[in-house]
Subunit: 205 residues, 2 copies
DNA sequence: CTCCAAGCTGAATTCTTTTTCAGTTAATCT
DNA sequence: AGATTAACTGAAAAAGAATTCAGCTTGGAG
């Protein structure tokens, strides 16, 4: 039983989570009542009010509008998966996560689930010596501050590239991991750092 | 747009799927109407009837009871996620998926969710030229029959290796993707193929 | 040209679901 | 013992949602 909840409240929270998983939608108050033999919707409502006050769910006045907070589902399950949007293109002045720009969703472990994080398909062979191939999907954390040598996504002249990041005073070096290619030196002003690459996924064959 | 659907129907199906993912519950008919500027609930209902007849959704008369069939969500998105066991070691005569052998679970897209599939941590640099590095997690499908050139997990002398697979009559070649290493030729009898590598995941720094 | 299907408007009706009100019981705390 | 809280009953009202009916428009297909 999760912390701060009575036994009954915990059972009900679990049932709600099961419902969402099994039926694709949260239960109604009455449905919860049927499951627990509570004949009055108000009896159930008391529990929901308690769960809401304790921060495990959120509600609105609409039908089936029970939303289980992240904190709650994380507490009950080691719900260690989530999805991140797969972004089609990155361009200056264009919101990365704009709806028409999202091509799909990629499952990732919660270790990489940070606010604003997204996925990107790698184009080109510039990082081939680091095992990042053309077509790989990378996970980008836009809120991390790049450290020396980190692999970053950077926007230079409205083109997105994946490179190693090094800082030399006011100049930034974007160094490929490919002996056939040259590092790029640009002024800090003319490069937009989009984030740090934190993970990679590849489908083979 | 998925097969058999008009443009409008496809858009609406997508919206329903997005709703379920983003809000944790399906939309109401009226909510769909707001999104698409359809002022009459009946206009939306026509679309839902069509989607149901074509097998993309199922409905009941309850509130928000739109259920997207597996077929439909698989066709529109690969957004289904699941987990596969991360196996600690592979050894002859030892069941791979024995509980004490499972070190964790890795989220993967349902495209890789096949019966018996599991994950493995790569040890060594034998596949480095194919972008498979030491420490990477690979997803293994044990039920696929390896084709020429496929990357396989094979058990030779009770040691698990990841290599390219080639067949020469009764002899099997296990070829590394590393110029510094030699291919291994073994008789078909002395190698146990554990499965085909279908995907790869890496955490960076 | 005519017919039909897709895609809608508008409105009425019915069902589902939430919300609110007025109490009851048993256990726990002070 | 008296007060508080969790966990309910029962009923009614109000809001949310689905269903149904009647008809309009448009762009093909025959």
């Amino acid at each position: 039983m999760a912390k701060g909840l009575t036994k009954r409240q915990g059972e009900i929270l679990e049932f709600i989570i099961d419902c969402i998983r099994d039926n694709g939608m949260p239960p109604t108050i009455a449905e919860i009542g049927v499951r627990f033999n509570i004949s009055s919707t108000n009896g159930v409502n008391d529990h929901l009010v308690a769960l809401e006050k304790k921060g495990y769910i959120e509600r609105s006045s609409k039908a089936r509008s029970i939303h289980v907070t992240d904190q709650a589902s994380a507490g009950l399950y080691q719900n260690d998966i989530g999805v991140l949007p797969l972004v089609g293109r990155i361009a200056a002045g264009f919101p990365i996560l704009a709806e028409e720009n999202v091509e799909g969703h990629v499952p990732v472990s919660s270790a990489h689930l940070r606010p604003g994080a997204y996925c990107l398909k790698v184009q080109g062979d510039s990082m081939i010596e680091d095992g990042i191939l053309d077509g790989d999907t990378i996970i980008v954390n836009p809120e991390a501050r790049p450290k020396e040598g980190d692999i970053v996504v950077a926007l230079v002249d409205d083109e997105a590239t994946v490179k190693h990041f090094y800082r030399h005073g006011d100049t930034i070096e974007l160094r490929p991991a490919n002996a056939a290619m040259q590092p790029l030196f640009v002024s800090a002003a003319s490069v937009q750092l989009q984030g740090v690459v934190v993970a990679l996924q590849r489908s083979i064959a």
